[in-house]
Each structure stands twice: as structure tokens, then as C-alpha cells.
């Protein structure tokens, strides 16, 4: 029943996508608006199929229908409800199902947003592209990743999900967030392809997709940060980012997406960098597919890897198609992509964005190269190489410091050209704020060149961001926090918090392993002090239920009781540690139990004290909040209006603050520019 319903949903989605492609192709060819409007029906059909499949799989999981192979291999009757629900995305087939559901949701959202313009060829081509992607993913579920295989002899119970996937509630939140980000980049990609095909390569399509890109980027950010938090809470080594292939796969589209969010402003303002922006968008989407390939084909060793399957070649093929099509289209439209504008000076906002993009491109290149280099090396020189954390840290540290420096300088740069005097004036206070942060760090005992430089630059960049926010709110009141520039500055502050947390938790981590006894004896104290935190062992705890057995050690940490645990799940003989973390704004104490408490009343624990690591998670929240503010319109100016429209031409221009969100033409219409006008 569940299998039949689920398969029906998959087929419905696949047929709907295929039908939409054919219908839209005929409609575009014969210029038939009636056919183009059918995109809406097809989109709902595809979403309907995805919802039916998703519901069927959830029903199978919840009712423990072990006749489904997916439930028999990943579910169990003992799994608690939340983790049982989340098991849908715990393995390969289900993760493609979630992907398809989100993709179908985005398709319907686009259809609804552009419902009045479905007959516009640009929108029709974008819809067509989305349906092609839908066809691919629903096709996967008909072929190698069919989640609805049935078993002739269903077992009475299943093993349940991997223990690491059922001991933290973030399992229910982190993957959907990440997928909302990944899949969301399909929308701007579809519009980029549509712009290339229709030749309408002005700024209209960019403005249309700006918020979609921001939406996808925000969820990708949230997903990545939550993933880092999850691993910090679960793994017990104090780590949160291991430059593992799967982590890199999520980080790569984030890098190119971030580069795009910046360089797109140059195109909107000055009409430059058109090829580059198109390439960035297409690269972002292609990288989500490449990442899916890397993580689901088993070609790379990863702690997150999904089981081996035959889906690899298909994903790689799809990636190749995307790259070939994009490169071909850009080559074909090359003549229309040239921009008449020039960059007047490297010391300008657009010059800084350009440099930002070079750095981000280098960042993406390093991460991509480091991730796939073991494969390249094995293929070309039959030499096995490990590219690990030290490589990534050494290569990305200068990149990160350069980005901090740019975040300090760029927000105060005017468009077109800045004089040395302008920079001296505007950067003075931000510079002193950075200096104050540096001196303060020294006073509280921070040492080492790289972290101190990072703190100085972060303070400097924070000063520049605050300066922009202060100027904007002084002029516009609370509205000065909204809009892309101001929201973007709040995102910057979040990034700086993450950077500071990264630097300090890396440089000043203290780790200690110790055996504690309830009654202190020689060589086994009952209380230890690690970096000023007193830990006292109070006794063992034990807890058994159907889902798991766990033992814990009751510890008093700075007066409060914390219980790190070791859990054993029925399906595995592996013991899974469940550390506990005492979080404060200045530092966090992570306690992992290494061995189960002994009968004689002792326990071996590892204590890791990391300064400011909470800033990482809060910085992620600030970034999400900032991009929410950035999505609101900050001014009534149409983004494609020439910015010089209302600048007085007469008299010597006073040295004044160019206001990025100034409204040059109050009568202008608040709606975004219709796509048609840029042809």
C-alpha cells in the first residue's frame, strides 16, 4: 500500500515534469500562451506527486511497514518518534526524496510568484529549466535511488538509523535547512539559463531572482552552522568543522553564492561583470550537484558518506551536462554580454567587489582542489594522497584574513573612485575600534600573530559595519536597518563573530584527559580545575529504554550539574558518546566520558575548554537575521535606476556621504522592473 502510493507519487512527479517540458517546448516554439500557462498545472502535479511520495514514506516509517526495503534497513520499532520521522532523510534514497519534495515546492513557488507572467518567454524558459531538474531527480527515484523497493519476506524489525543520526534533535532540522539552501539555488540558475537562451541579458532577470538567491543562501548558511553545532555537541573532540568532503560539498556553493551576492551589486549598479555573475550562479548550482555526487557515490572517504550506489555516474553526467550547457550558452551569447562600462579605479566599491570575487574564487578553488585532489592524484599518478585539515587550514587562513581586511575597507568605499582622504576620514574610527579590540585581546592574554591579526581586522570590519548602520539609522530611523546594504552589514557582523570564534577556539583550546574518583585517592582526584573551571565527580547514572541504553557520569561544573553519557543502541555494538557542553559567552566547557564509570567509583573524562565558541552559533543566527533584514526593501529606489539620476551637477561636489540607499526619484514606482524592459 505504502509502496504503491509512493511509487505512484514518483511516477506522477516524473510524468508531470516530462509533460511540462514537452508542453513548454511546444509552447515556446509555436508561441502559444495557452500552453505556457499550463506550467502552473504541471507544477502542482509535480508537487502533488512529491507530497504523496513523501507522505507514503513517512506513513511507512511511522507505521513501521518493514515490507519497504528502506524502512527495513533504516527504521526500527524502537526509534523515538522524532528520529523516526527524520529517518526519511537519513539514507540515500530518502534524501533524494526530500530533495525532490523541496524542488517541487520551489517550482510551485516560482509558478505562483510569476503567475501573471507565465507567457513571458524568459519565465517560460526558467520554468522549463526547473522541470528539467525535476525530471532528473524524479528519474533518479525511478531508477537507482528508488525509495519504494519492497521486500518479499519483510523482517519483523529493522536495525534503526545509524546511532549518530538518532542522538541529537538537530538531525530533524539541519538536513532540511541545508536542502532548502541547495535546492533554492535552482531558481536563480533557471533564470540565468532563461536569460541566456532568450538573450535578455540585462539586469532584469537578476533583480527578479535576487531574493530567491538570498533565500537559498540564508538557508544554506543556517544549515552549515547548525551542522557545525551538531558535530560540536555530538563528536566530543571540540571540533565543528573538519574539512571533510561532505562539509566541503556544502561549503563550496556557499562560497560561490556569497561571491555572487556581492558581485551582483556591481552589475546592478554599473552593468559590469555580466559573464562573471552568470558563471557564478551556474557554478553554484553545478557545485550543489557535484557535491551531491561526491557525497553519494562513495568516491571519497568521508565520515558522512552515504552507502555506495549506482547513482554516482548519473549525478556526474548531470553535472557535466550543466557545465557544457552553461559554457555553450555563455559562448553563444558572448557578444551580448559585453558591458560598455569600465571600472574607473581599483579604489572603489566595484574595485573592492572585484577583489572580493577574486578572493572568493581562490577560496572555492582551494576547497575544491583539496577535496578532489586525492581522486586526481590517484587517477593521474596512481599515488594515494591524503589532503587533510592542516592543508585546508594553512591555505584558507590567508584567504580568511584577506576577506576580513576587505570587510573592513569595502563598506566605506564609494562607487567609481575614492580619494585617499576619503578613506583616511571614513576609516579612522573603524580603525581605532580594531586597535582597541587588539589591545584588549592582548590584555586578556591572547597571543600569536594570526589570531591577533584576525581580532584586529574583525574589530576594524565591525567598526566599518557599525559606521554604515549608524549613518543609515541616523538618517532613516529604524528603516536604516533594512535593505540590502544595511542588512548586509548585520550579516557582516555575524560573519565577524564566526571568524573570531573560529580563531579563538582554534588557537586557545585547552584539552585535558583525567580519571576522577568519587572519593579522592592518590592519583585519582575527585575535583580538577581546567582553565579556571572546577569539575567534581558526583556519581554514575544509568538509564535503559527500548531505544537505547545509556550510562552517565554526574559532574558538578562551576556549581551546576552536567551529565556526559555513553549510549548503546540496540542495532550496533558500537558505543556512542554523548558529551555535554557548558556554554558561556566567554568560553565553553565540553565534557566527554571516555569509559563507562567503574564499580569502584571512578570515571575517565576528557575536558575541552574553548573560548568564545558560542559566538559561532550566535554569529550564524546574526547572519540569518541580517539576511532577513536584507530581503526587505530598504528604499523605494528601483535597483536598476541610474544612481546618478538626482545628483546635482552644478557647483563643486561637497565631500559628503554617498548614500547607497538614497532614493533619487521618490515618484518612481516601487515595483521591481518588469523583465521586459531590459531586452
Amino acid at each position: 500500500m505504502n509502496a504503491a502510493l509512493g511509487s505512484f507519487g514518483v511516477v506522477l512527479g516524473f510524468v508531470g515534469s516530462l509533460g511540462a517540458i514537452v508542453t513548454l517546448a511546444i509552447g515556446l516554439r509555436g508561441n502559444r500562451p495557452d500552453l505556457l500557462r499550463m506550467a502552473r498545472t504541471y507544477a502542482f502535479m509535480v508537487l502533488g506527486g512529491a507530497v504523496v511520495s513523501f507522505a507514503a514514506m513517512e506513513r511507512a516509517l511511522i507505521t513501521r511497514d518493514f515490507s519497504l526495503k528502506y524502512v527495513a534497513t533504516n527504521g526500527s520499532s524502537a526509534t523515538p518518534a522524532l528520529y523516526n520521522f527524520a529517518t526519511l532523510w537519513g539514507a540515500l534514497e530518502g534524501s533524494i526524496l526530500l530533495w525532490s519534495l523541496i524542488l517541487a515546492g520551489f517550482t510551485v513557488a516560482v509558478v505562483l510568484k510569476f503567475r501573471a507572467r507565465l507567457t513571458d518567454p524568459l519565465v517560460a524558459w526558467a520554468m522549463l529549466t526547473m522541470f528539467v531538474v525535476c525530471t532528473f531527480f524524479f528519474g533518479l527515484m525511478l531508477g537507482p535511488t528508488n525509495p519504494f523497493h519492497t521486500l518479499a519476506n519483510p523482517p519483523l524489525d529493522g536495525p534503526g538509523p545509524n546511532p549518530l543520526l538518532q542522538n541529537h534533535p538537530l538531525m530533524a532540522i539541519h538536513p532540511p535547512m541545508l536542502y532548502l539552501g541547495y535546492v533554492g539555488f535552482t531558481v536563480p540558475f533557471a533564470f540565468a539559463i532563461a536569460a541566456l537562451v532568450t538573450g535578455r541579458l540585462g539586469e532584469g532577470w537578476l533583480v527578479e531572482t535576487r531574493r530567491w538567491t538570498l533565500f537559498a543562501w540564508t538557508f544554506l548558511t543556517i544549515g552549515i552552522i547548525l551542522g557545525a553545532w551538531w558535530s560540536h555537541e555530538v563528536l566530543g573532540w571540540g571540533g565543528y568543522w573538519a574539512w571533510d568532503p561532505v562539509e566541503n560539498a556544502s561549503f563550496l556553493p556557499w562560497i560561490t553564492g556569497t561571491a555572487f551576492i556581492h558581485s551582483v551589486m556591481v552589475q546592478e549598479r554599473r552593468g559590469m561583470l555580466r559573464v562573471w555573475n552568470l558563471s557564478l550562479l551556474c557554478a553554484t548550482f553545478a557545485l550543489t550537484i557535484l557535491g551531491t555526487f561526491l557525497t553519494r557515490s562513495g568516491v571519497l572517504d568521508s565520515v558522512h558518506a552515504f552507502s555506495d550506489s549506482t547513482v554516482g555516474p548519473l549525478l556526474l553526467g548531470f553535472f557535466a551536462v550543466i557545465v557544457v550547457v552553461t559554457v555553450g550558452l555563455v559562448g553563444w551569447r558572448g557578444d551580448r554580454l559585453r558591458s560598455p562600462a569600465r571600472i574607473d579605479s581599483p579604489a572603489s566599491r566595484e574595485g573592492a567587489f572585484l577583489l572580493n570575487n577574486v578572493v572568493f574564487a581562490a577560496f572555492a578553488f582551494v576547497v575544491l582542489l583539496g577535496t578532489v585532489f586525492p581522486l586526481i592524484s590517484e587517477a593521474l599518478s596512481s599515488q594515494r594522497v591524503t589532503v587533510g585539515v592542516p592543508y585546508f587550514e594553512r591555505m584558507t587562513m590567508p584567504i580568511g584574513l584577506t576577506l576580513l581586511f576587505l570587510m573592513a575597507i569595502a563598506p566605506v568605499l564609494p562607487w567609481r573612485k575614492a580619494s585617499a582622504e576619503t578613506l583616511r576620514t571614513r576609516l579612522l574610527w573603524p580603525g581605532w575600534i580594531g586597535t582597541a579590540v587588539l589591545v584588549f585581546s592582548l590584555l586578556v592574554g591572547a597571543r600569536g600573530f594570526a589570531p591577533l591579526l584576525a581580532f584586529f581586522l574583525a574589530g576594524f570590519a565591525g567598526g566599518s559595519a557599525l559606521r554604515q548602520l549608524a549613518l543609515a539609522t541616523r538618517r532613516q530611523g529604524i528603516r536604516g536597518l533594512f535593505g540590502r546594504t544595511n542588512g548586509g552589514m548585520i550579516v557582516h557582523i555575524g560573519v565577524l563573530m564566526v571568524a573570531v570564534a573560529f580563531a579563538s577556539s582554534h588557537a586557545y583550546q585547552t584539552e585535558r584527559e583525567a580519571r576522577l574518583c568519587i572519593d579522592a585517592k592518590a592519583g585519582c582526584p575527585s575535583t580538577i580545575t581546567v582553565s579556571g573551571h572546577r569539575l567534581t565527580y558526583l556519581g554514575a547514572t544509568a538509564d535503559v529504554d527500548a531505544a537505547r541504553r545509556e550510562v552517565g557520569a554526574k559532574l558538578r561544573v562551576d556549581g551546576q550539574v552536567y551529565i556526559p553519557k555513553i549510549q548503546r543502541f540496540p542495532n550496533g555494538n558500537q558505543e556512542i558518546g554523548k558529551p555535554t557542553v557548558r556554554n558561556r559567552a566567554t568560553d565553553s566547557v565540553l565534557i566527554a566520558m571516555l569509559d563507562a564509570p567503574t564499580k569502584s567509583g571512578s570515571v575517565r573524562i576528557r575536558v575541552i575548554v574553548q573560548p568564545m565558541i558560542v559566538w559561532l552559533w550566535t554569529g550564524g543566527a546574526v547572519m540569518a537575521f541580517g539576511s532577513l533584514l536584507a530581503a526587505f526593501p530598504g528604499s523605494r529606489r528601483r535597483p536598476t535606476d541610474p544612481v546618478s539620476a538626482s545628483v546635482e551637477a552644478s557647483g563643486p561636489a561637497p565631500e559628503r556621504e554617498p548614500d547607497p540607499d538614497r532614493d533619487p526619484d521618490p515618484s518612481s514606482d516601487p515595483d521591481p522592473v518588469p523583465v521586459g524592459v531590459d531586452a
Binding site: 581562490a362 599518478s381 591524503t386 585539515v389 574610527w429 589591545v439 559628503r656
Partner: protein, 159 residues
């Protein structure tokens, strides 16, 4: 916007530079030297656990990792440098490629060199383009003028 109208000279910047450079220099050179256990931790960060796939010795509890940690502590006590310890551990597990840092020579040297080459080429290319982008290099042609005139006429017509 008083700060924006007041002229700022180089003097405050020179003062700031002195403070920043002084603070950075102090913070760099006044570091306490690493304790043996901190050094062991740093070295263990760069060595792959022999029985795992990609985890470092410092973040795994397998018996093999513990053996490597013992080895590292012994070599530190014997007075080896970090680099000597890494080479020593690697030589004790032949064919396993335990170093998480790919070596700088041979084919794997490419993983270090390529990004540097790419960045240098990109910056050089951009600098070259910037020479082109000087405002002086722009000449307005009659075509441009007629484009502008057409656009303005279209704008008027739209209103």
C-alpha cells in the same frame, strides 16, 4: 556627519600603525613556548589515525591512534623537532601515507602550487585590465551619443 567633513591627516593613522604593529609584535614574540603536551597535540593534529579513513590521531580513540600518541610523546621527550617526529611516524607505517598534509614535492606538490599560481595569474590579469580601465582610456563615440539620445527619447516617450 561631522566626522565626514572634518579633514583627517596622516598623523592619527601613523599613531594607529605604531600601536597596531607594536601590539602585534608583542603578541607574536611574547608567546610562552609550547608545553610538551601542547606540542604533542599539534603534531597529532597533522597525522592521520592509521586505522581510520581521514580522522586525525588527535581526534580518535582507536588503539592505533593511542599507539601513535605514545610514539609522539616519546620522540618529544627524546628532543626531536615536530618535522622529525612527523617523518619518523610516517616511516614507521610504510605505505600508509599518514601525513594529513600532502608533501610539497612530486605530484602532490601541485595541490600547494596550483592555488598560488591561479591567484597570481588572476591578480596579474586584473591589474593588466585595470590599466585598460583608466577613465582616460574611454573615448565617447558618436554611436554612444546616439545610444544615449535614443534611450532618453524612449524614456520621454514612456512618460
Amino acid at each position: 556627519m561631522s566626522a565626514a567633513t572634518r579633514k583627517v591627516g596622516w598623523l592619527p593613522w601613523a599613531a594607529m600603525a605604531v600601536v597596531v604593529i607594536g601590539a602585534l609584535a608583542f603578541g607574536t614574540f611574547a608567546q610562552h613556548s609550547l608545553t610538551p603536551s601542547e606540542r604533542a597535540q599539534h603534531v597529532a593534529d597533522t597525522i592521520r589515525c592509521p586505522s581510520c579513513k581521514s580522522q586525525a590521531v588527535s581526534s580518535s580513540d582507536t588503539p592505533a591512534s593511542q599507539a601513535v600518541r605514545v610514539l609522539i610523546r616519546e620522540r618529544i621527550a627524546a628532543g626531536d623537532s615536530d618535522e622529525e617526529i612527523r617523518d619518523f611516524v610516517d616511516s614507521r607505517y610504510p605505505g600508509q601515507h599518514l601525513l594529513l598534509d600532502p608533501s610539497g614535492s612530486g605530484f602532490s606538490g601541485l595541490v600547494w602550487a596550483l592555488p598560488v599560481v591561479v591567484v597570481v595569474v588572476a591578480i596579474a590579469g586584473l591589474t593588466f585590465r585595470f590599466r585598460d580601465w583608466r577613465p582616460g582610456a574611454l573615448a565617447v563615440t558618436d554611436d554612444d551619443r546616439s545610444l544615449v539620445a535614443d534611450a532618453l527619447a524612449a524614456e520621454d516617450a514612456r512618460r
